[in-house]
Symmetry: C2
Subunit: 224 residues, 2 copies
């Protein structure tokens, strides 16, 4: 990486939390100059306009989201419902991989009447997440683990809607109740889609909290 490329990457990483917290229009050049310690000219050397930087910052945030939500998943042999529950668990554990809440929801809400490039990326991000979930449901249908007649798209919509809606409530209330309720409801609902109920599967998602989980649970500031 050249020195110029490294600076460009540093700007993206420092701008991403600001855009995530304040939105595209809410984030001023002044904010970006303060976050990066660069003058306006320094920023424009790397990004011809604010939109270019916002797009790169959002792509960076989406990668952070994907990392956080996919990390350390169950093995293939654990089955479809375990995989779906693992995703729910990961979201509840790390709902905001960078300050300001879920970048997907923030940008979807911020850009749905606004910036078309960000809007397109947010749509792509939501649809990629839903497609991944639907694929897992299809695997479960093929293997006979998930009850016939279960609709992959409906399960994907249910998981994304419940988690994102619960995060919105949790952030405005300043506590984790809505997130915990969402996890519990999704566990019950997803286990209900099993062709044959098992108790092992449910226990998978309810192991003793890890050190990280305890840390997050006891540090409301980190969560906000």
């Amino acid at each position: 990486m050249t020195k110029g490329e490294a600076t460009r990457q540093r700007i993206i990483e420092q701008a991403a939390p600001i855009f995530n917290q304040r939105g595209f229009t809410g984030c001023s050049m002044q904010d970006l100059m303060e976050a990066t310690g660069l003058e306006k000219g320094g920023l424009y050397r790397h990004f011809p306009c604010k939109e270019d930087l916002a797009v790169e910052a959002f792509k960076y945030a989406l990668n952070k989201v994907a990392e956080a939500r996919l990390g350390g998943g169950p093995h293939h042999e654990d089955g479809a419902i375990a995989k779906l529950l693992h995703g729910v668990h990961q979201f509840v554990k790390i709902p905001s991989p960078l300050p300001g809440g879920c970048p997907l929801m923030n940008t979807a809400i911020d850009a749905d009447d606004g910036n078309p490039a960000l809007r397109a990326l947010a749509k792509e991000g939501i649809q990629a997440w839903k497609a991944r979930l639907a694929t897992i449901v299809e695997e479960g249908l093929r293997s006979g683990e998930i009850r016939k007649g279960t609709k992959p798209r409906a399960i994907a919509n249910l998981i994304v809607a419940t988690l994102e809606g619960a995060l919105m409530i949790s952030r405005i209330e300043g506590n984790r109740n809505a997130m915990r309720d969402a996890q519990q409801t999704l566990e019950d609902t997803l286990n209900g889609f099993a062709a044959q109920p098992t108790s092992r599967r449910r226990s998978h998602a309810r192991t003793r909290p890890s050190k990280l989980e305890v840390l997050i649970r006891d540090s409301p500031d980190r969560f906000r």
Copy 2:
């Protein structure tokens, strides 16, 4: 109402959709002047600062939301689950009572790292909605209609999270799939909380679509 009061009210009504679509920081004085046809001085005569106008516009939007979501509910004797399903139905029928999506969610996301007055109002709005839902669940528990052990707070969180999350998905995708899936899932889940299953209750929420519903279904523009 004096002429001054009427002008003030007109400004609030014209500003509300702009704030709902663009957010507090995303909405400029220029936008407000264009929407109201007033000069800066005319606006400042009625509202000493943008925040004052944003707060009044959000209160106006919250009233519109409450009107849309409560309208024409089932009678008391219909029971708790019918009341909850009616609320779900009303949300799906009119998710955006003014252009730009649900003002509660928009302001919750826009203000969670931002304006404290708007943040406080959004929190109040979400909690009032949840309290109304939890009260209905408590009625159902007392009357024996809803299964013992059902948690009022969890049901309230489930309904609000699923509907708001589904609206976010529907708006970014530009179709109503996520809203329809949310309605279906919530119908199944809420009917599952009945102490004694009935088929009448489910059919209540699945009557033939009204003229208004057909209009909304067939007019994606109105929905956006």
